[in-house]
Symmetry: C2
C-alpha cells in the first residue's frame, strides 16, 4: 500500500504545507500550530529545521518522528507519512443530535453573571516610542493595558516576551493582548498582531466519574456554541472512584491522568472541528468535577482521599497551563478548576451551589446531585453542609447490559399504562439501549405494574415479558426484531438490585444529613435535583422508586447539570469564580460513615420505595400492595 | 581503548550508581539530580525506566542517549559510556588565587541590608490531619507557613504538588519549604523532607560585556563563600555590544544566549565544585549587567536597543525559572535580574546606586563605572541622571596582545621610578600578561616618563625599550626570558591609542553629563569609581591619563565591582530588591549623542590628559612638557 510521491517546494516550507501542496493529506486539528500532535512524520533523510516536539514522546523522537507542521525543509529530503497520520480517520464522536438533546441544557448562563471572563482579549493601539517616551516594549504594553482596564499585578512569560518586539513593529504597534487571571495576578498569556479581540473561546468541562461533558463557549459573546459528551474512559480502571485510586496506587498515576486528558481532548477536538474554530483560539478550560477527578487530571496522589480523614492533596489548585497536563488548546492557555470542598465533596458541588444561588438565599434548600458519586448538600446563605453517597454508575446508563448514554436511540422515558409498559426513544428511532432516566422510569414502572415487588424481585408469574436466562430473571422491554441493537432490550434482576442499591445510597445519605442537622423534611423550602439527566427525570417516578424524599412536587426543581453550569459561570465571570472560592470555604463536610446508624439507614432504603412506608405517604403504597417484603 | 566491564546490581538501581559500583567513573556535578546533564550514556540494549531527559538535545535522544542518573535498570542491559562522560576532564577554571584577588572584594554586604533573602527556606512541623482538621495537604502547608511568616499571596507549581502528599507522610509531617519571591506573590518552589533549612545557596552574577563574575552566597548566613570570574565568551561575536546585537540579527539569538548561559554555568560549576555544594541546593541566581546582556541571556530581541530611541524589549523582567534559559541550578530555582534603567543604562548601574546609597544621600555624587560599556551617573536622593559611554574592552585586559584578566600572573601595577618602569605581578610570579589596571598604569607611566607624548605617540628616541615591529612601534615592558608567557610582554602603538580612545569616551561622557546638568566639577561632593579593578586603580595615574576628572583625591572613592555588590544585596534582602526597582524608575537617561558638541568633546579628550590642560591642573603638565601636540 506504500506509495511514493515526489514534490518540489521552496526552502523553508513546512512539511505539512509541502504535503498539502503534493496532495498528501496529513492529519491536523490545530492548523499547524504544533498543538495537536496529529501530523507526525518520519524524516528518512535530508536537512530540516525542527521546531517544537513537545507533543512527541521520547520513543517517537528516537524513532525519528517529527511534527510535519514544526519541521521546515532546508534541502532535498525523503519523508515517510505513517498510517496514523493520514487524514482518513472517522470523527471522534458522531452523535451530534444527542448532545443537543442532553448535554446542552439551555441555562442562560451568559445573562446571569457579571460578564468579565477569566481570560480576556484587549486590542491595543500603542503610541510609537520616541526619545521622550522610550519605555521598554514590555512596559509600553502594560501601560496601555492599564489605561484600558484596572488590571492587578501583571506577569508575562518569557515566550511572550521573546516575540513581542518584532510583533509590535511588524504590526504597526497594533496588537491584541490575551489576559488570564491567575489568582490575584494577571498574566499576559499571548500577544497577537492586529485586532483579534473577537476571537476568544473557552471550554467548560464537567468531569463526572462516569460521563465527561464539554461545552464550547464564545468568551466574547458569552454564548454556548455547542456541547459534547462521552463516557469517562477511566471506567476501564474501575467504575468507582476508590477502585481507580487503588489502580493508581498499584500501577502509577499515568493511566488515569492520560485517559482523562485524552477524553477531554476528544471532546474539545469534536467541538472545535464542528464549529470550525482553531485550537489556538481556545484560551481556557474550566473543569468541574469531584475531588478525585481533579487529582487524576493533575496526576496528583489521591490515595489519602480514600482513607480517613480523607485528606486530598489539594482542593483549590491554582490555574496552570493546560498543556502541562496534556490538554491541547492554545499552548499558553490556562486550565482552571472549580474549587473543591473536601476529599469527597468536589468542585461539582461548589458549581451546584454557585449556579443555584443557595449561598445567597434565606430558603433552606437541599441540593441532590444524582450521579455515580452522588452528593447532597443542605443549607442557605448562613450555613451549608454536604455529604457524599457513592451510588455507582447505574444512573448514567452504564453498568447494565442494555445501558447507554442519554443520546440518540436511548430509551429515556418509560410508563406503566393500562397494564403494559410503553417507552419513548431519544431521536424517535428504534431503541439502542436505555439511559439513566429510562432505567429509573423502567424500574418504577415495573413496581407500579407489580412486576417487581418491594424488595426489587422480578415476579415471573405476573408478566410473560419476564424470562429466565442462565438462572437469572430478566424483563424484556423490547424484542430483538424491534430494537436497533444486536438483540433484545432487557433489564436483569441483578441490574434492578444495583439500581435499588444506588437509590438507597442517595436516599439514606439525604436522610442522614437531615437527621444529623436535626431537621425534618418539612423544614426544607426547596429540593433541587441536579445531574446529567436533570430536567428529564420524572419526579413522581423518582419518588415511587424512593430515590428522592417524598416532598411536595411544587418544592422540587430539576436544575440540570449544575456542575457544568457553574463552571461556565466561573469561566465567564471573574466575580463568579471568586464567589466559588468563598462557597468552597463555607461548606462543612459531613462524613456519613460517622453516623451511628448508617448501615441500618442504608439497608432500610433498599426497598421500594422504603422499608418505612410512612416516609413515602404520597406514593400510595400499603404493606399489602407490591408483593412480599422481607424485614 | 574500549573496555568491557560487567557488573551485577539490583533492579531499580540507576545507571550512575551501577557505574560507580562497577568502578566506572561517570561525570556528574549535580549528584544525580538530572540537572547538570554531564552523565550521558547510551543504552545499547535492555530494559530501563527513563526519567528526565530535559538536558538532552533532540539529536542526542535520537542517538539513544540518556542521563545515567535518570535511567533505572529493569533487567539485563548493555550500556556504552561515551568519552565525554568519563570523569577525567580538567576543572573548568583553575585560577583559584586570582578570583580571591580580584573578583571577591570584601564588601560586608551581609550586614548592610535587612536580611530577608528572595529565596528562603522554612522548616515546618505540621499537625497530622484529623476529621476535625482535614484541610488538604496543600492548604495545611500554606497555613503553617502563614503561622511562621506573613507571606503574601502564595502559588505552587504542579511538580511540587505531585510529590507533596507522600513527602509529608514519609517524613512524619516534617518538611522544609523553599519560598521564592516573584513580584508580589510568593512561590513554594520546593518541598523537602525533614529539616534542610540550613542548606540554601544563591549565586550573584555580574554579566559584563567582557568579564563575567559570579559570587556564591550562603543564603542562611548571608556570607559570600567564594567567587569566580571569566571572560564573556560572547566576545567571539564582537567586542562591543552593538556588534553582538548585529550578530543576533544576522544569525539568530541562540549563539549569544547559549554562550552566556554556558559561561554562567561554568562559573557556578567551579564554585559549587570547590565548596562541595550540590547544584540542587543553589536555589537562586541574581544577574546584574547592562540591558543588552539581559536581553542576550533571556534570548530577547535586542535590535531596537541599538537604534534610536533605544527601546529595549524589557528592563524589568519578572523572575523566571533559571532552567528556562539553560542555567543549571535547582531545576525549580529562580533567576532574577537587577532592574535596568533603559536601553543603554543597565541593571549594573541600578546595582551601583543601590550599593553606594546615592539615592539616599544629600551629597551630589558622580558614579563612574569603568568597563567595556562605561556608565556615568550623577545625582543624589532628589534626582539622578545617567549616560553610557562605549569604551571597548581595553580596561579589562583584553583587545591587546599581551592582555589578560586580573588574575595570577597579571601585571597589575606599573610605576615610573627613577627613569625606568617597574611593575608588580598578581601572585608574585613571572608576568603572563597585563590586566586593565596595569595597562592604565603603564600608559600613564609611559607618559610620565615621556616615552609617549600627549597625543599618545610612542617616542622611539627616548627609550631603547621602544622598538618597531612590522612598521608599528611597541614598548617592551619585559623581555621574553623574564616572562611566564610565550615571548615578550609589550604594548603596541595601536593598543595605546585604543586605551586613550576608551578613556576619552569615559571622560567626555562625564564632562557632557555635568555640562548638560549645568554643573561644575566643584559642585560634586563625591566621585565614586566602580569597575572590575575597583580599588586596585591608582587615582593619580587615572588622572594623569585623563580617565577621571581632576577632582581632589579626598573626594574620590573606589567602590569596586558595585554591579555584583548590588546584586548580592538584592539577593539577600527583599527590601533591597524592592529599592532597586524604585531606583531604576527614578533615574533619567541622557543620550550623549544628543549633546550638540559631542564629537568635539570626545576628540578633545583624546590627548593626555586632555587638550585643555586647565581641566587637569593637579597633574602638573604644561604645554611644553610631554612632547608634541597636534591641535
Amino acid at each position: 500500500m506504500e506509495e511514493e510521491i515526489k514534490a518540489e517546494v521552496s526552502k523553508g516550507t513546512s512539511l505539512l504545507d509541502a504535503a498539502t501542496s503534493a496532495g498528501v493529506q496529513i492529519n491536523s486539528i490545530c492548523g499547524g500550530e504544533g498543538i495537536c500532535g496529529k501530523c507526525k512524520v518520519i524524516v528518512d533523510n535530508g536537512e530540516v529545521d525542527v521546531g517544537s516536539t513537545s507533543t512527541l514522546s521520547r520513543e517517537e523522537i528516537k524513532k525519528g518522528y517529527s511534527l510535519a507542521c514544526q519541521t521546515w525543509i532546508r534541502g532535498d529530503l525523503k519523508v515517510t507519512v505513517p498510517p496514523e497520520s493520514t487524514a482518513t480517520q472517522g470523527k471522534i464522536l458522531i452523535d451530534e443530535d444527542a448532545q443537543k438533546f442532553r448535554a446542552l441544557t439551555s441555562d442562560g448562563v451568559g445573562s446571569s453573571v457579571k460578564y468579565e471572563p477569566l481570560i480576556e482579549k484587549h486590542y491595543l493601539e500603542l503610541p510609537e516610542p520616541s526619545l521622550k517616551d522610550n519605555l521598554s516594549d514590555h512596559r509600553r504594553i502594560y501601560r496601555e493595558l492599564r489605561r484600558k482596564k484596572n488590571v492587578p499585578i501583571m506577569q508575562t512569560g518569557l515566550k511572550v516576551f521573546k516575540r513581542s518586539s518584532s510583533l509590535l513593529r511588524d504590526n504597526d504597534w497594533k496588537v491584541t493582548a490575551t489576559l488570564g487571571r491567575r489568582g490575584d495576578t494577571t498574566e499576559v498569556i499571548q500577544l497577537e498582531g492586529g485586532d483579534t479581540a473577537d476571537t476568544n473561546y473557552g471550554v467548560a468541562v464537567d468531569i463526572g466519574t462516569t460521563t465527561v461533558v464539554a461545552h464550547l463557549l464564545d468568551l466574547v459573546t458569552s454564548e454556548t456554541l455547542d456541547a459534547e459528551a462521552k463516557y469517562n474512559s477511566q471506567m476501564q480502571y474501575g467504575e468507582e472512584v476508590t477502585r481507580r485510586i487503588r489502580h493508581a496506587e498499584e500501577d502509577g498515576r499515568e493511566d488515569l491522568q492520560e485517559t482523562l486528558a485524552n477524553d477531554i481532548n476528544d471532546l474539545i477536538y469534536a467541538l472545535v472541528d464542528r464549529k470550525g474554530i482553531r485550537l489556538k483560539d481556545v484560551t481556557s478550560v474550566m473543569c468541574s468535577g469531584n475531588t478525585a477527578m481533579l487529582h487524576f487530571l493533575l496526576g496528583l496522589e489521591a490515595s489519602h482521599i480514600r482513607k480517613k480523614p480523607y485528606v486530598p492533596n489539594t482542593t483549590k489548585p491554582p490555574p496552570i497551563r493546560a498543556a502541562e497536563v496534556g490538554i491541547k488548546v492554545n499552548p499558553r492557555g490556562l486550565l482552571y478548576f472549580m474549587p473543591a470542598i473536601g476529599g469527597w465533596v468536589g468542585g461539582d458541588v461548589t458549581s451546584g451551589v454557585l449556579s443555584t444561588g443557595i449561598h445567597k438565599r434565606d430558603q433552606l434548600t437541599m441540593l441532590t446531585d444524582i450521579g455515580t458519586n452522588g452528593e447532597i448538600l443542605i443549607g442557605n446563605k448562613d450555613w451549608m453542609m454536604s455529604c457524599a453517597a457513592s451510588a455507582g454508575p447505574a444512573f448514567e446508563g452504564t453498568g447494565i447490559r442494555s445501558g447507554m448514554r442519554a443520546s440518540r436511540g436511548a430509551v429515556d422515558k418509560v410508563e406503566f399504562v393500562e397494564g403494559d409498559l410503553i417507552y419513548s426513544v431519544i431521536g424517535n428511532t428504534r431503541p439502542k439501549g436505555i439511559c439513566g432516566s429510562g432505567l429509573i422510569d423502567l424500574v418504577a414502572s415495573l413496581f407500579e405494574g407489580e412486576f417487581v415487588n418491594r424488595s426489587g424481585q422480578l415476579e415471573p408469574d405476573d408478566s410473560d415479558r419476564i424470562e429466565e436466562e442462565k438462572g437469572e430473571l430478566k424483563f424484556i422491554l423490547e424484542e430483538p426484531a424491534e430494537t436497533g441493537m444486536d438483540g433484545e432490550l432487557a433489564v436483569y434482576q441483578a441490574e434492578i438490585k444495583n439500581l435499588i442499591n444506588a437509590k438507597a445510597a442517595i436516599y439514606s445519605g439525604a436522610r442522614i444529613l437531615l437527621k444529623s442537622l436535626d431537621l425534618e423534611l418539612d423544614d426544607l423550602d426547596q429540593l433541587l435535583i441536579a445531574g446529567g439527566f436533570g430536567s428529564y427525570l420524572d419526579s413522581g417516578k423518582a419518588k415511587t422508586l424512593g430515590l428522592i424524599p417524598d416532598i411536595p412536587s411544587e418544592k422540587i426543581k430539576f436544575v440540570g447539570n449544575t456542575s457544568i453550569i457553574g463552571a461556565k459561570m466561573a469561566l465567564l465571570s471573574q466575580q463568579a469564580y471568586e464567589e466559588s472560592r468563598e462557597i468552597s470555604k463555607s461548606v462543612t463536610y459531613y462524613d456519613l460513615i460517622d453516623y451511628p446508624n448508617y448501615f441500618e439507614e442504608f439497608t432500610a432504603a433498599k426497598f421500594l420505595p422504603h422499608t418505612d412506608l410512612s416516609q413515602f405517604g404520597s406514593v400510595g403504597i400499603t404493606e399489602q400492595s407490591g408483593g412480599d417484603q422481607t424485614e
